[in-house]
């Protein structure tokens, strides 16, 4: 199994959870390129590489932070495009994200207090 230091979320994982939790309430789920676009727009940066994106998604799914399924082929066919792999942030993923944000806020507050 992948080695994962307990409680550690990588920056890209945090960003994916953040973007996913933004898209999910609106769309119900999200797919890889939609995520890449959201991340790029949010950070005003280049689109994340496919390698980094799908590796992270794969790892997060294995870790139980995300769940995924292929969309129905009929819909993809109707729209004349390849099927999308649709992802959703799981309860564990959302809890991990909230905890990481709280940890970051604690770090910021501590930093400001020391400054």
């Amino acid at each position: 199994m992948p080695r994962r230091r307990p409680g550690v979320l990588l920056p890209i994982e945090l960003a994916i959870l953040d973007a996913g939790l933004t898209i999910q309430p609106r769309e119900g789920s999200f797919f890889g390129f939609a995520l890449a676009r959201t991340l790029a727009e949010r950070d005003d940066s280049a689109l994340v590489s496919q390698g980094a994106l799908y590796r992270a998604l794969n790892r997060m799914e294995t870790a139980g932070l995300l769940e995924s399924e292929w969309e129905a082929p009929e819909r993809a066919e109707a729209e004349g495009r390849p099927r999308r792999r649709l992802y959703r942030v799981t309860g564990a993923g959302e809890a991990a994200f909230r905890a990481a944000v709280r940890a970051e806020q604690r770090g910021t507050v501590t930093g400001e207090a020391l400054a």
Binding site: M1, P2, R3, R4, R5, P6, G7, V8, L9, L10, P11, I12, E13, L14, A15, F31, G32, F33, A34, A36, R37, D43, S45, A46, L47, V48, S49, Q50, G51, A52, L53, Y54, R55, N58, R59, A63, G64, L65, W70, R81, P82, R83, R84, R85, A92, G93, A95, A96, R98, A99, A100, A103, E104, R106, G107, T108, G111, A115
Partner: protein
């Protein structure tokens, strides 16, 4: 022209697909097919979105190639994970952050030390009447050392770390060569060495350039807001909310 640009998009997409076939070769067919289909979908979504957004085909082709090329290390790492079942470089980004900070901090401290050393030699040279003025190169080295001291302080805070690294890149380019020039005037021993080793100043510039490249890379790495928060995100989560 448009036709050529259109073919450039197609070629870039084909390159990405070919690459996905290559790095998934020999893997579990289900896993390989899933990755290939995701890449196919991604490429389609990317080109469709770019066309709808009015992005030129040439820029789209460039972006497709860029995404593929930048992702190669991650693709290879993912492949290794699939083959071995171990996430070999799982914690590398965190290690990189720490190593980069250590390296840039050492560079900063060395620059401060160089500035302080030249300042001390300058004072000594003035006191013993070796020279009666302060050479420009010595003044500049001391100033650069002082700026480096401020930059080292900036490294101490996550939010200003990238600025500290960027400043150390600028000071790094100059301080080593300028210190060699300063020593020429304020140290008799250095004068002999410099006269004997003609490539010393060139070497100092080369070292400075190397240092600057490393510092600029660190500045770029830390300027990403996602990465800036990496240390915080790596902070321990409550046990009940661990990611696994």
């Amino acid at each position: 022209m448009t036709g050529l640009d259109g073919r450039a998009v197609e070629r870039a997409a084909r390159s990405s697909l070919r690459w996905s076939l290559r790095y998934t070769a020999g893997l579990d067919p289900v896993i390989a097919a899933r990755r290939q289909q995701e890449i196919l979908s991604d490429l389609h979504e990317h080109t469709t979105w770019a066309a709808e957004s009015g992005i030129s085909r040439r820029a789209t082709a460039r972006a497709l190639r860029g995404r593929m090329l930048r992702g190669i290390p991650a693709d290879l790492s993912w492949r290794r994970t699939q083959l071995t079942g171990r996430e070999g470089i799982r914690l590398v980004p965190l290690r990189v952050d720490g190593l980069l900070l250590a390296a840039v901090a050492v560079i900063g401290v060395v620059q401060v030390a160089v500035g302080a050393f030249i300042a001390a030699r300058q004072v000594r040279a003035l006191v013993i009447d070796d020279i009666s003025s302060i050479p420009d190169s010595a003044a500049l080295t001391i100033a650069l050392g002082s700026v480096a001291l401020i930059a080292v302080a900036l490294l101490g805070h996550r939010r200003t770390r990238h600025w500290g690294a960027a400043v150390l890149a600028v000071t790094g380019v100059l301080i080593f060569a300028k210190s060699v020039q300063a020593l020429y005037y304020i140290s008799a021993t250095a004068l002999l060495v410099i006269n004997g080793v003609t490539w010393l100043e060139t070497a100092a510039y080369a070292i400075g350039t190397g240092v600057a490249i490393l510092c600029l890379a660190a500045a770029a790495y830390w300027s990403n807001p996602v990465r800036r928060s990496s240390a915080a995100s790596a902070a321990s989560l409550p046990a009940g909310e661990e990611t696994r």
